[in-house]
């Protein structure tokens, strides 16, 4: 097109040479009103394969051309409905099915809290349906069209009003059709042809290439992920943001060149005790006595602490034992050891039964009862460590040395609770009433 000033109408007739198959006839009209009139006459003449083209939606052209009302709104309603249901289903699946959370005893599934998201999902899906549905029904995008070959047709997006009648219409006759369009008030009429080059009748090659290339490019991350999922590697994961997943420390048997054997861990070293290997003293740590293979619960106390200090049953140990006993044991066994601590008492108040052993009950003449009194020290220690019946073990709360202190204190309690008058020192005998 040689015309530089776009605003002047192109009036030069175009020669027909090198054209392809006939597409139809294109007629231009001056005003929107004339376009509506002309389209009505074309329709009345029985044509069906025609369309009007204008820079904006012309009022009244739908009825003049006989365009049927689109079903698009119904489809959009379907989209919105699916969005609302899908939004509800998503929330039900996430919060009521796959990942239920008890928050202050609220139900896992309650509609009011799920309305906003379902509402947004409905709008989102309806809008997506409206957008993509409109283009799909219009068979767009289609960047090639025989009418685009007409320079005159470029004005359709500016100020031009056109009717195009296709050659495939059963009433189409080049001369008669042009006559009809002229009689309807066309200001210019010209036949339109397909491009002789069949490649111009499909999507331009560069767009196809771009779509293929960008699709292939977009698939690369997925391909990498798929490969990674189906292969093994000794290397750690690639973490762009490592967070705390990888820390600058070594684990056992990792490679580390600064040591002679090339391992991060040094193995056994003289004069050291490996982690978790310290409690070797069966007497102190487990309360067992005797030859290996024939060990029994000890009736005495350990001889040494693990750090080599001598173990002494003295006032300090009993005082320590009393403190620990009162913290850990009194809730069930009570301050006097008779098994009437706060827990059994309160359960009793509630009408239930929670029995704690009476630690100080003496055995009768036949030796029955008085289980705790008759237990060897080692077994008492083991019971504190590992629990017995409904009593749980206290190994996690009370260190070994303190457990032994409690054993000593329990022994003292038993002695005190079963004392006879003869046990009172002679110089105090007189004060007993």
């Amino acid at each position: 097109m040689a015309t530089k000033d776009h605003d002047a109408a192109p009036v030069t007739p175009e020669p027909v040479n090198g054209e392809g198959e006939l597409y139809g006839v294109l007629a231009e009209y001056d005003t929107p009103g004339e376009l509506v009139e002309a389209s009505r006459r074309v329709r009345d003449a029985g044509y069906t394969e025609f369309d009007c083209y204008s820079p904006f939606p012309v009022h009244g052209i739908d009825s003049a051309m006989g365009i049927k009302r689109t079903i698009l709104p119904l489809v959009i309603f379907g989209g919105g409905f699916a969005g609302a249901l899908g939004g509800l289903a998503l929330q039900w699946y996430c919060n009521a099915h796959a990942w239920t959370w008890n928050i202050s005893g609220k139900p896992t599934w309650s509609i009011p809290a799920n309305i906003p998201v379902a509402y947004e999902c409905a709008i989102l899906l309806a809008a997506l349906t409206a957008f993509f549905g409109m283009w799909a029904f219009n068979k767009l995008p289609q960047v090639w069209h025989p009418l685009f070959r007409k320079d005159r047709f470029a004005r359709v997006t500016d100020d031009g009003f056109f009717i195009g009648i296709e050659a495939r219409d059963r009433h189409f006759d080049l001369d008669k059709t042009q006559k009809l369009l002229q009689d309807a008030g066309a200001i210019a009429i010209e036949p339109a042809y397909y491009d002789p080059d069949p490649a111009k009748k499909v999507m331009p090659r560069w767009i196809t290439a771009f779509i293929v290339a960008s699709t292939a490019f977009a698939l690369i991350p997925f391909a990498i992920a798929a490969k990674a999922r189906n292969s093994h590697s000794p290397d750690p994961h690639i973490h762009i943001f490592a967070d705390m997943d990888y820390q600058p420390k070594f684990r056992s048997d990792q490679k580390l060149d600064i040591f002679k054997d090339g391992r991060a861990n040094l193995g056994e070293q003289p004069g050291t005790v490996a982690r978790g290997h310290l409690p070797e003293d069966d007497l102190f740590f487990r309360g067992l006595d005797g030859e290996a293979g024939a060990q029994k619960w000890t009736t005495g106390f350990p001889k040494l602490y693990p750090d080599g200090r001598p173990f002494a049953v003295d006032g300090a140990l009993l005082e320590r034992g009393r403190g620990r006993y009162e913290i850990y044991c009194t809730p069930c066994h009570g301050y006097d050891g008779r098994g009437n601590g706060m827990v059994p008492e309160r359960v009793k108040l509630g009408g239930g039964l929670w029995q704690a052993r009476n630690l100080v009950e003496a055995p009768d003449a036949k030796g029955a009862g008085g289980v705790a009194v008759q237990m060897p020290n080692g077994q008492l220690f083991n019971t504190i460590s590992n629990g017995y019946n409904t009593m749980m073990g206290y190994a996690a709360q009370i260190p070994h040395a303190d457990r032994w202190a409690i054993v000593a204190y329990v022994r003292a309690l038993q002695r005190a609770q079963n004392a006879s008058q003869a046990d009172v020192p002679p110089d105090l005998q007189g004060s007993i009433r």
């Binding site: 015309t3 776009h6 605003d7 109408a9 007739p13 020669p15 027909v16 009209y29 001056d30 005003t31 929107p32 009103g33 376009l35 509506v36 369309d51 204008s54 820079p55 904006f56 939606p57 009022h59 009244g60 365009i67 689109t70 959009i76 998503l90 996430c94 919060n95 990942w99 928050i103 809290a113 799920n114 906003p116 998201v117 947004e120 999902c121 709008i123 989102l124 309806a126 809008a127 409206a130 957008f131 409109m134 219009n138 767009l140 289609q142 960047v143 090639w144 069209h145 320079d151 470029a154 997006t157 500016d158 100020d159 080049l174 001369d175 042009q178 006559k179 002229q182 200001i187 009429i189």
Partner: protein
């Protein structure tokens, strides 16, 4: 008769359409951009750079670089988020609500306002994303299958509603904006082709999806446009309501109020219109768009600001009344400390900018004076920012436990990120003005009296 037959020349009615095309396309077609445009682009890109640097420091260090603390955990970040989202709402209001209510004057500004919506929502989205501290885990907010014990989002949280509302809003706004632009992109395509600019024509050609103005296409297009407008209207009201739920569903005095959804929506429209005018008044002058964006359109926007400004003022008063009427000592304390507490200056900045400044729009002289309007719009923008700051920071700084009371001071990275989003917003808007159709040409043509020229009843030109 197989050659072109030209019967007669086009008439005069079409000159109106040509003039509209020319006036709008000129903005993008001018061979050299205006010097002030270049200057503004340079400044805004620089501001965007400051924002990028602030983000870099934030991401590599952690949100400790912000002034947020244990007590004032939401501060500038959430203030800016709400502010930007609110600004976006004017675009949707102009393009959807005014479309449904058949306000013809919207056609001159709807495109620019929709673009503003998209850029504002982009700015808004940055803040909660960065506030997560580790934005690379932002995908945890999406209901995606995962290998973390199959952990799913908790949809009872208003923060999850936010995720859905804001992302839906951005998506629908983009679709609406793009769909409205397709016929105008086709205009650009054809003009570039006629001017011999092949590359530009090809790009606009792809973007316009091969639009050829077919009546059958227009029919479905108009239906879809109407429905999208119908969908956007409840959407825009729901988005800011959901944003206000972030506060209203909490237990904090000053946040825990049912007035928030309408109050936030009115404020959003108020600030959005102020931002539309802040941007369009200078650009209208710069690109000679006076007969596209007419003074009467600016009048209409001023009146909307006057109305919404008074709604916001009414909400401020209602809040205080309800705090007193409730008899709740915590509520009363929250509002007393809002107006007379440590942030009294922010409260009075808010009231004077939002309630007093728009009162000038009662005067016709002011509505005709674009410099005055622009200054008042700046005041409103500032005031609406302070409104969000007042709600968020003052309530948190004086919560239930006096031992948790504190003051909030922003750091340079708070300021840097905010400046950065303003730069990003202006930068995108300037680029939009230069490369895309700034006004909806097809809609302006359709709304002009000449659109009915040559009809059987009128038969002539106007």
């Amino acid at each position: 008769m197989s050659e072109t037959a030209v019967v007669h020349e086009p008439g005069k009615a079409r000159e109106t359409f040509r003039a509209i095309t020319r006036d709008v396309s000129w903005v993008a077609e001018a061979p050299k951009p205006h010097k002030l445009w270049l200057l503004a682009l340079a400044v805004s890109t620089g501001m965007f750079g400051i924002g990028l640097y602030s983000i870099y420091v934030l991401v590599t260090t952690g949100i400790g670089v912000w002034g947020n603390s244990n007590n004032v955990a939401w501060a500038w970040d959430i203030t800016n988020f709400v502010w930007w989202i609110g600004i976006g709402h004017a675009g949707t209001l102009i393009s959807a609500v005014l479309y449904l209510t058949r306000q013809q004057w919207r056609v001159s500004i709807n495109r620019a306002a929709e673009a503003m919506t998209i850029f504002a929502v982009m700015c808004a989205g940055l803040f909660p994303l960065l506030h997560t501290g580790r934005p690379w885990f932002a995908w945890w907010m999406l209901p995606l299958p995962n290998d973390m014990g199959s952990m799913w989002p908790q949809f009872r949280s208003p923060l999850m509603w936010d995720v859905f509302a804001v992302s839906t809003y951005l998506t629908v706004s983009l679709l609406f904006w793009f769909m409205g632009m397709v016929p105008d992109l086709a205009t650009f395509r054809d003009r570039c082709a006629l001017q011999g600019k092949k590359v530009r024509s090809a790009i606009y050609g792809v973007l316009s999806l091969g639009w050829r103005g077919s009546a059958k296409h227009w029919h479905r297009y108009e239906r879809a446009y109407l429905i999208l407008a119908g969908l956007s209207t409840p959407l825009v009201f729901s988005v800011h309501s959901v944003v206000s739920f972030d506060f209203a569903t909490s237990q904090l005095p000053g946040w825990h109020t049912t007035i928030f959804p309408p109050y936030f929506v009115a404020g959003a429209i108020f600030s959005g219109f102020a931002m539309v005018l802040t941007l369009l008044l200078p650009l209208r002058f710069l690109f000679n768009l006076q007969h596209i964006i007419k003074q009467e359109h600016i009048h209409a926007m001023c009146k909307i600001m006057l109305a919404t400004g008074m709604m916001v003022g009414l909400a401020y008063g209602t809040e205080f009344f309800i705090a007193w009427y409730s008899g709740n000592p915590f509520e009363m304390f929250a509002f007393r400390s809002r107006a007379f507490g440590p942030f009294w200056w922010a409260y009075f900045a808010m009231v004077s900018c939002n309630v007093l400044a728009p009162q000038f729009f009662w005067s016709k002289w002011v509505r005709n004076n674009n410099v005055m309007i622009w200054i008042l719009c700046i005041f409103i923008n500032v005031g609406m920012w302070f409104e969000r700051f007042v709600i968020i920071a003052t309530s948190l700084a004086r919560s239930f436990l006096p031992s948790a009371w504190s003051y909030y001071t922003p750091t340079r990275y708070d300021v840097g990120l905010f400046v950065g989003t303003i730069g990003m917003f202006i930068m995108f808007f300037l680029l939009f003005f230069r490369f895309l159709p700034v006004a909806a040409m097809s809609e302006i043509k359709g709304a002009s009296p000449e659109a009915h020229a040559g009809g059987p009843s009128k038969g002539g030109h106007h």
